[in-house]
């Protein structure tokens, strides 16, 4: 007679509160039956945790980004699992890889097609500064054509670096004033890139 199969008849149920991550409540006034905070903070919180990235991958940094999207590193943990492949629906332009001068107008066009508010992340040495390609054909950093919010160093950066860059972007999104995009300062910034 074989050994009886032992079933785990008393499985431990995970409490739902332990399985779901909650964002910290923004600071505000709380009382019985009400809670008041700034609209700006709520919107920042919502935007921060639901960024739609647009990958603009041209070379080896793109491969590292694919690893970041995969199960080991899993960008989905940070609310960014939904990559959009149309600039019109995306919030974050991720430029990953060498941008040749001939590619520059295309990057700029993609940026122009994105709706405000939009953020830009330059991943790797090439997108940030031209990297080792100190040459007649390579754009020396995408910040020559579009404004960049976060630079990730590395050649190529490890997926942890990409995650860190995304978290820095999230910080910016979270803390950004709703009025920033209408400010004179921001308009001057775009104006310096010849963008209306």
């Amino acid at each position: 007679m074989g050994r009886p199969v032992r079933f785990n008849i008393n499985p431990q149920k995970t409490a739902i509160k332990d399985a779901i991550g909650f964002a910290d409540m923004p600071e505000g006034f709380e009382g019985e039956g009400f809670y008041a905070t700034k609209f700006e903070k709520v919107i920042g919180l919502a935007r921060k945790n639901s960024i739609w990235p647009l990958p603009f991958a041209t070379s080896c940094c793109g491969i590292e980004f694919m690893a970041t999207m995969g199960s080991h590193y899993d960008l989905a943990r940070f609310g960014s699992e939904r990559l959009g492949f149309t600039p019109r629906q995306c919030d974050l332009l991720m430029v990953m890889g060498t941008i040749a001068k001939k590619m520059a107008p295309i990057v700029k066009q993609v940026y122009l097609q994105m709706a405000e508010p939009r953020w830009v992340l330059a991943m790797g040495a090439c997108a940030s500064s031209g990297g080792i390609f100190d040459s007649y054909s390579v754009l020396q950093g995408i910040d020559q054509i579009i404004p960049v919010d976060v630079y990730i160093p590395g050649c190529p950066p490890r997926p942890e670096g990409v995650l860190d860059g995304i978290l820095r972007i999230q910080d910016l999104v979270h803390n950004e004033s709703l009025r920033r995009r209408n400010s004179e300062h921001y308009k001057a910034l775009l104006g310096s890139y010849n963008i209306q």
Partner: protein
Amino acid sequence: MALTLDIIQEKLLEKFGDQISFFIDPFGVLNFETPKEYNLKILQFLFDDETLRFRFLTDICAVHYPDEKGRELAIVYHLHNLVDNIRIRYKVFTAIETPDIYTATALYECANWMERETYDFFGVNFLGHPNLKRIQNVEEMDYFPMRKEYPMEDQTRTDKDDEMFGRGGTVIYNK
């Protein structure tokens, strides 16, 4: 009888005589040179001749020799006889002030893009080319980047510090 480099050399000498010079065959590839006015005649002869049959143009490229006055630019035709599987290299030289040379597009369709590329990087002016404009670089570029008078680094850069790249600057390395 299989085609050999000796036969090719003999036939070319028989047809063009003293216009051809500089026969060498490094790594078994025959190299020779003529004045640049002869390029189409040579290519046509190599194409038409029933023994030679060089009917495939592998590549056109150029080389810049800044020290050779009057013949700074070499235009190199790589030809392939697909029947006998023999490759040869044919060079013409031109002065960099007058980089004019006849186009081979009438003979080889594929010469169209190759000559555009050679124009793009070296500024060789192919007379009679149907569409001689830049093919790989940005159209606004106003120089020919592979000529050796231009430094390899991008001169328009403003953000890179020479010290960071180990060339010039104020840092002195003690060895």
